[in-house]
Amino acid sequence: MSSELLFSLLIFAPLVGFAFNGLLGKKLGGHLYPGVIASVASFISFVASVGLFQLVSEQPEQAKYLVIHAFDWMQVGTFRLPVQFLIDPLSSIMILVITGVGTLIHIFSIGYMAEDPGIAKYFSYLNFFLFNMLILVTGDSLPLLFVGWEGVGLCSYLLIGFWYEDHEKAEAGMKAFIVNRVGDAAFLLGMFVLYSHFGTLNLLELNSLAPKEAIWNWLDPITIGTLLLFVGVTGKSAQVPLYVWLPDAMAGPTPVSALIHAATMVTAGVYMMVRLSYLYTAAPYTMIVVAAIGLLTAVLAATMGIVQWDIKKVLAYSTVSQLGYMVFACGVGAFSAAFFHLVTHAFFKALMFLGAGSVIYGMHHQQDIREMGGLNKRMPLTYWTFMIGWLSIIGLPPFSGFFSKDEIKWFALASDRGGNWIFWGLAWVGSLLTTFYMTRLMAYTFWRDKKYSADHQPHESPWVMTVPLMILAFLAATGGFLGIPHAIAQILPGHPNHWLEHWLKPVISLPTIKQGITVEYEWLLMGLSVVGSFTVAMVTRYLYLNRIDLIDRTRERFEVIHKVWVHKYYVDAFYQKYFVENLVLSSRDLWRYVDVGVIDRLVNKIADVTKELGRGFAWLQSGNMQNYAFITIIGLIIFVLFLFKG
Amino acid sequence: MGADFLEVSLNALKLIFFFLMMVQMVPLLVWLERRGAGFIQDRLGPNRVGPFGLTQLLADAVKFLMKEEFIPQKAVKFLFYGAPIFALIPASLALCAIPFGPKFEIPAFSFWGRHWGPYEFILQGYEVGVGIVFILAAASLAVYSILMAGWGSGNKYSLLGAIRASSQIISYELALGLTIVAVVLIYGTFSLNEMVTLQRGPLSFEFFGKMVTIDFLPNWGIFYQPIGAFLFLAASFAESNRLPFDLPEGEAELVAGFHTEYGGFKMNLFFIGEYGHMIVASALLITFYFGGYELPFLTSQELLAIYQEAFGVGLTSSLLNALTHFAVFMFKIFIVLWIFIHVRWTLPRFRYDQLMELGWKTMLPWALGNLLLTALIYVASKTY
């Protein structure tokens, strides 16, 4: 099959599903059809992406990509914007992940949303999201990427506020939307800066035009452009300081959180940076900012995750933290590691969100982990799959998280683009914090004695929900083998190379190892991570199961810190006080003085003048068609007179 | 019309000849109709004047001519007189575009001290490239004579009859048009001459990549368009206001339709026009579906060769050839005309609502289906 055909299948299957469910879903009735249709659409898309992946792998090494030209969007002067799609190693993996995980989440949703009256709407949004996400990752220029970027933002907004009857949930949707606008504005500005500098917005061209030598200049257009783009990334990928929307976004249905706010959409920013890796490496100041922001996010989010009681909030902060890791990896130039973590994170975080969904479903929409406990007996499948997710995220071998996170930490030290011991130390601490709060979550949800009341008997979820869980658990367990670290590979028989790195080599910029850092360091770091994580996990488990009093006492002891964490470092309050309130106040002033005083008066004046003029010209609209025709003819005469000049 | 004086005048004579032929066929047909009706109804029909009553109509014509020229008070004189004259035009224009025979050549000769020719003539008023479209265009003008007559009479029965007649004609024109689209599709041309040429020889067509030849059948359109031929026949009955579709003249409801107020020779002109339509319809039916002027198993070239063997190459043989085919064509036309007459005395008349619903709800969908089927089979059989 030709790439065009496959690609149209990939793109249009979700679009057709969207249109079908959106237009006819409600008419069809039933709670099964919309889900099945959407899942089939998504699955078709997945099959198409497998085919595209195959096609890409068949391409020669020098030009390992396919370009699908659809049509020319616009042409303004020399600026020509073709709607063109690019399937290269990077986006081919991305579409596999999006459609694969997407399909599983669609299937899961059939069970999870079965009782919801708006199921057709839900699935149409979900399919539409897939469509936009695919546009985002396959678009070959920044404007096209931006189209998808905005599209997924829209879907995210729609799905967060899916239960819009609930005021809080609707507001969460708006918050996500508004916070993202800040980032998007910067993104647009970044695009302008880059266009004015390079004269193109094509991703491949941008990468190839990027200077080979790093430019140490804060005012260089590349630095400014990439920084502005990075502000967009902080919006979409929930980095400090714009991360505040993501925890609130948990108001949406849980599968949505799994798909959009964990596996795919929030990684769009990371994807974009990986895409423009050559551009970013050319701007070292940007890289420093990126690394710092990423690491800060990773650690801060982890600390906040410790004090959350809502199962989804914990996972949300964990997502923010993991996204921080990815961004940080980009910051130290380890784009392949960032992308690797993106993929494995998509697996295990989707798994954990779906597991959480299953728990919530089983608990009759109870999300507070204090009300749970002892679920490992009642929901064994959910428990075991969740367990795999936990093992993966805390980074125990051979689960996928170990490989990807370790690679990030390794480059935190070893990358010649700014790796150092401080970065590694903070990353390590962050990962220990991750282990801590995830183990806490496990303890509260599954291991503890049961806390739920007798009339809320939890039950195992139906198979449409558990089967996707199991598939994702398998992926989370084995996904790490995509990128076996060099140190391990050396002692394994046959020396399997780092497949993902090799696969991505044609499209992204790979870091080199600093002088003097040897394989032994890698073993050392790995050991420290594994031992640290294992110890923290065991200790936490012990504390939460047996010595809960110690925990409580510690909390009372460090009440101040706890309070800060609970209040999310007062970021929301800060925004509320200095941005939102000021905005409201100044809006009021604007309305009172400028709007009423100046604009309204002006408009009224214009209206009056128009009215007077209209009264003057009213005789023209006599209703006499012949007069109208006559006026037309006079116009024609004037036109003919113009012909004489030419 | 021609390169020199002789050719121009010969062509003009030819046109006049075809028109007069149409006019002269009318008495013959009326005689045929009355005699036929008589036999069908177990009577004798006109048999007094001349042999078999053949000159009866000549006598009628004389009588028509002797009639008082009469015009009703309220009539609009211009329209009242114009309508019957105009009734002749569409039929004669259409008839002259139909080929009645193959080309024949007049070799060069000297006369009056100058050289003339060679000329090539065709037994046809004029050869039109877009033949069918021309005929349809001419036929679509027929409505005006009816409307002119209906309005010009200043009689509401006439007007009612005219409106009904024109409604009927335009309704069936749709089915007719669609049927003709299928015909055009089969032959791939608008030219009637080419259609006749394409129907020469034994039945042979390409079917899914194979050439199929059936020797015992001629290559006539009826074998490609059986449904179409039937629809065409039915629609042309309605187009020429013949029974069972002669509603415009329904005596019981409308006195006599749009020519209530007409009498004498004006009436006769309407008659000529209507029979002219009938002749055109039969000629078209023959041309589309029954091989035109061609003989079934002997193409015109073969016949010409035979004649040339007998009489030598020259005017004689080619003229003979043309005339033979003219006779063949006339023979075929008379067979179809006989069907027209026979049907008239066999089938009862429709009610008006039945007529319109037949046109819109039965004929039109059938014609559409026929077209779609033809197109599908055609394209499928030519691509695979």
Binding site: - | M1, N11, L15, F19, L65, M66, K67, E68, E69, I71, P72, Q73, Y81, P84, I85, F86, L88, I89, S92, L93, C96, G125, Y126, E127, V128, V130, V133, N155, K156, Y157, L159, L160, I163, S167, I170, E173, G177, L178, V184, L185, G188, T189, F190, V255, E261, G264, F265, K266, D353, M356, W360, K361, L364, P365, L371, A375, L376, V379, K382, T383
Partner: protein
């Protein structure tokens, strides 16, 4: 198109008809009579006001005729050049294009039938 021939024929036919009518009007005996030249409406007294209450159906038929006629005319160029389309390998393309057009046509016809616009009670 052989325009001279066509117009010659049309002119000749008009002349022919006119001459015949002229001759007929000269030969025929004319007896003027007031009653005879009244409008013939089956012998009943003529109603002065010809307030024709003719069914709207006739006029509707004419409108629908225009529309369908044009749709049919659009098919002529396609039908005549289908052979050429086939030769270019555009057979199915053109057939599908026209098929969509015909589907719209059929839908229109179906709607007219269903909405009883074509019913004559």
């Amino acid at each position: 198109m052989p325009l001279p021939s066509v117009f010659f024929l049309a002119g000749f036919v008009t002349l022919f008809g006119f001459l015949l009518l002229f001759v007929a009007s000269k030969i025929g005996e004319v007896v003027r009579d007031r009653v005879k030249s009244e409008t013939y409406e089956c012998g009943l007294p003529v109603e002065e006001k010809v307030d024709t209450k003719i069914s709207i159906k006739f006029y509707l038929t004419a409108i629908l005729f225009i529309i369908f006629d044009i749709e049919i005319i659009f098919l002529y160029p396609w039908a005549v050049s289908l052979k050429e389309f086939l030769a270019q390998g555009l057979g199915w393309y053109s057939l599908i294009g026209v098929g969509i057009f015909l589907l719209i046509f059929i839908f229109g016809l179906w709607w007219e039938i269903k909405s009883k616009a074509l019913d004559w009670e």
